[in-house]
Amino acid sequence: MRIQLDWTDPMTGGPRRPQYETPVAFGQEFSQLPSELNGQRVSRLILADPALSPYHGVLKVNTLGELAIALRPDATAGVNGQPYTGETVTLQTGDRLQLGALELTVTMLSAPDAAEAEPARAWGVTVAPAGQSPPVAGLASQAAAGAAPSPGMPCDRLVGFLFPRRCGRTSREHCPHCQGGEIDDDPYFLASERSIYPNYGYYGGSSWGSEYTEDLTPAEAQPGEASNYDFTEADAAAFAVTSTDFEQDLDAS
């Protein structure tokens, strides 16, 4: 099942609307989230809210085909304003899920909806810094399960270290990133190594570059998109364009 989660980024005030294939594991630490559950590849969502556990819970489809939320022991959440712990709760389109200071609205997507809805963006969209706490990392996971290339469709797994970008391959064969589909874990390759630079790829809040972006925001940003200077799909796509180094090198031939 493909779902869309909507919430407002408390740091930037901007809306977030990424889509995921279920199951979706969520929590604070990417490395703690499973990459596979019962043989299914898992979409991983990092929510940098200090009230959440490193691995807080999972949204999955139960045997009746309903979307359900299952929390890890000691984890808490709320559905439509009602707190709950422990038992599995099913969700409908429009249900509101309270996770720490965040409120996420769930939408189950039919196939046409999935095609029309705004695609998840490359960077920043799945990082939800809450309150004044800084995000654990400026990079977060889009789906791993949904990232798998289907025939004719480019793989939307994020690859790269310095500048994560869409894989874009239409086949896993000879793929250097997932080794022909054998490596299913961390779609943000080596995110743990990248975490030596806290807030890498993030320019909001008190992070580096925020002065610069705030300085530019009033005149240039669109309403509702204030301070959203994280990487976007367009930014990721820009990496795919080969740099035009033509007519620069005097020793070229």
């Binding site: 080969t242 035009t244 180094d245 033509f246 007519e247 620069q248 090198d249 005097l250 020793d251 070229a252 031939s253």
Partner: protein
């Protein structure tokens, strides 16, 4: 009647641009002045060999302006603008780069009221697309000469394009015999077949060739190995290194050639029908891999990617006997004479 002056713009790294320009100048200077604009790093090394390449009368008609490629873009642009605006000559022949190596010709050509000829070596299609070069070439050039590269290159279908044989420095009749070529290399008394590693291309690629030669020399002592390079490649045994120019003057001695996929390496081997084991190099504008694949239908080329593949290819050439066969005579036509005639009628 006063002689015409042809200006040949041949900026670009490596040997190719310089050597094509010299080949054209060698023929053209018999009847007119030629002003050569070059920036190859190899020019200071090539310069002393000009006396052997040009007869005295022709040499007097040749003027060469050279600037180092380290000069910088702005200074190079200024130099070219100054050269072409103050003394454009009667024909402008531009090698490979329609807009100039750093785009300096883009605005300059329209200010030069003389016939403009593009010598069309293969070009990266991305560059052609990014700069919309087809439109530019159609508008700015009166003639396109395609020496040896065939009809697969980007501007081959333009109406002013003319396909020619490859431009080589020497005509078939000018080449020395195998014995003379071997003696020039200092291997007159070595009975073994001679294999030559042509270390052309960028200076920083010399290391690879040096290592290659050292390994080949160790593995195949039944062949006499020799490396032609301007400078001694690192790791190359100095006894096997020869600093001779041009390579074509000694290439008849080779029974096997190992080199890159550059213009002259490929077409000189084709002219002499020598088996070539080629490591295609990555270039910003040239497509060596494409050239080698194209030419492998017409000449004995083995494309290799690594040292291991090179060793296998040499082994194969030895097994088939190709590496030890040495034809005494060769037949080829250089496209230079036709090019000079075509430029003259403009």
């Amino acid at each position: 009647m006063s002689q015409e002056t042809w200006t040949i713009y041949a900026l670009g790294g490596g040997f190719g641009h310089l050597q094509r320009a010299l080949a054209l100048a060698r023929q053209a200077t018999r009847q007119q002045h030629v002003h050569l604009l070059v920036n190859s790093r190899y020019w200071p090394w090539v310069q002393p060999h000009l006396t052997a390449l040009f007869d005295p009368a022709a040499r007097a008609n040749l003027q060469v302006s050279w600037r180092s490629p380290d000069l910088g873009r702005a200074a190079t642009r200024a130099w070219i603008e100054h050269s072409l605006l103050t003394a454009p000559g009667d024909r402008l022949i531009v090698d490979t780069f329609p807009r100039g190596l750093v785009g300096e010709l883009a605005t300059l050509l329209s200010r030069l009221p003389i016939p403009r000829i593009l010598v069309h070596r293969d070009l990266n299609p991305d560059y052609v697309r990014v700069q919309n070069l087809r439109r530019f070439v159609t508008r700015c050039y009166d003639q396109i000469l395609i020496p040896g590269e065939g009809s697969q290159v980007p501007f081959a279908d333009l109406p002013t394009a003319q396909l020619l044989a490859p431009w080589l420095l020497y005509a078939a009749a000018e080449l020395p015999s195998v014995a003379i070529a071997r003696s020039r290399l200092g291997f007159a008394h070595d009975p073994r077949p001679l294999a030559i590693v042509l270390a052309a291309g960028r200076a920083d690629e010399l290391t690879t060739y040096g290592q290659l030669l050292a390994t080949l020399h160790d593995h195949y002592p039944q062949l006499c190995w020799c490396c032609l390079a301007p400078n001694l490649p690192p790791d190359c045994p100095s006894a096997l290194w020869r600093s001779l120019y041009p390579a074509l003057a000694v290439l008849p001695a080779a029974t096997l050639v190992v080199g890159g996929g550059g213009y002259h390496t490929v077409y000189e081997c084709q002219a002499l029908n020598r088996p070539l084991i080629a490591l295609p190099r990555s270039r910003l504008y040239d497509r060596q891999q494409a050239r080698l694949q194209r030419q492998s239908d017409h000449q004995p080329i083995t494309i290799v990617r690594s040292l291991a593949e090179t060793l296998t290819a040499v082994e194969h050439q030895l097994c088939t006997g190709n590496a030890v066969r040495s034809p005494e005579t060769w037949q080829f036509t250089s496209g230079i004479a036709a090019a000079v005639a075509a430029i003259r009628v403009l």
